[in-house]
Symmetry: C2
Subunit: 255 residues, 2 copies
């Protein structure tokens, strides 16, 4: 829990992995502090890693595996590159309301108790690629948008705003007041291709196994399932999110 | 590479993780040899793990973490349960041809040099859930359908047949002779929702970054992209596969 909070001073964190670092590097809003490169990384790799992007850059430090592991932890697949950054600002619900006022369509994705960084990162990547406008998380469950999450997101943390809220059900109620309807993805609902998806939608997914909490499910005006076989009905949450986001994207464009 | 080959005697391998083991246990075609349960797993867990399923079952052995790690490797997330099984039979291309002769529709998914067990397992899970008929892999690149792959597949290795072929392009040519058209998912093609998907289709995906090899791409009669934003166009391969499989499923049922 080291995301920048409205009103608090922004925290630093580490990004690693080629795509995550290069995307942060290219993001004008990202303040970069330290760049670590593997001692054994090739010359071409090093040149690409420090290519100018129009903002001051930290002088690269060359590090051995042990130093990477000390900073990033033993299990980080860091790909010979890591970047210490100031965390991006997290949005609040009024920011999403303002967003909807100026955009003809909006797709948000809300995760209820999905906390695995790999899954959250993979969902951010799909959401950014498929044109979603923001991801909504409950602030006390939100994983840090760095490390393994940012690596799985493959650069998407630079593109997709994260909005943190205190209470998911209340956030959905407030979005509904601005004509943004919540669409729950659950196993017990009509298939998603059979329902009307409004132009302003918040797709809501729960954790595998547990699904959505009843209070969150109750705050969703719509619910849909994916057309899975009856004896094997559950997808990985990131794959389910990808399909839901695709379907929102396809319908939003009337196709 | 320990899958059963046509003509060779079947190999044994280890499955682990709750869903993978329980699905194997319930599969009448699976021969089970040894069942390992964590010493610390609770009584309810142990009772569910050995509940009768109408076939002889191995007597459970209770093991410490160190014994699991010795058998499964240090990085296995084994969830206090592992099962040694005989590997399932792998299909050959004529089996898929026979399958198409008796089914009005068929969806196959072919992976070209996608070798990460997590991704292959996740794709098997989506393919099984979304009603695909088989997965086609090149035999010398096929990861073992056990361990981390089977865990990510969450039971799907018991449901989705794997077909191994020597040459992917030749396999696609042979499928085309039986009216099964290959549909490549690539970044440079019309969006998938704008193309006709035949009732017998083999969806073809390549590895992230490298994409499809030219010879495999050339063997595909159709190609489609996903509707991603121009400046951030790539999805994780398992998420792309999920969307492709969903779209095949949706269209196959005329919806």
């Amino acid at each position: 829990m080291a995301m920048a909070r409205a009103g608090s001073s922004p925290q630093k964190s580490w990004l690693y992995g080629w795509h995550a670092v290069l995307a942060a590097w290219a993001n004008p809003a990202r303040i970069c502090h330290r760049l670590l490169l593997g001692l054994d990384s090739g010359k071409e790799f090093q040149e690409r890693a420090v290519a100018p992007v129009g903002k001051p850059r930290p002088k690269p430090e060359y590090a051995e595996r042990a130093r990477f592991e000390k900073i990033l932890g033993k299990n980080a697949v860091f790909q010979n590159i890591a970047l210490e950054v100031t965390e991006l600002e997290v949005l609040a619900l009024p920011d999403l309301v303002r967003m909807m006022q100026v955009r003809p369509r909006a797709t948000f994705i809300m995760l209820d108790q999905v906390t695995d960084p790999q899954n959250v990162g993979a969902i951010m990547r799909s959401a950014a690629a498929l044109g979603a406008d923001a991801m909504i998380l409950q602030n006390r469950h939100a994983p840090e948008a760095a490390g393994a999450l940012a690596k799985a997101a493959s650069g998407a943390v630079e593109l997709l705003p994260i909005c943190e809220v205190v209470n998911l059900s209340r956030a959905l109620a407030e979005l509904a007041e601005h004509d943004c309807l919540a669409l729950a993805l659950t196993e017990t609902a009509p298939p998603i291709h059979t329902i009307d998806i409004p132009t302003k939608t918040c797709l809501v997914l729960g954790a595998e196994g547990d699904g959505l909490r009843p209070s969150v499910r109750a705050a969703c005006a719509l619910a849909a399932s994916l057309p899975t076989r009856p004896d094997f009905g559950t997808l990985n949450v990131a794959n389910a999110a990808a399909i839901g986001l695709y379907e929102c994207q396809r319908r939003a464009h009337g196709i």
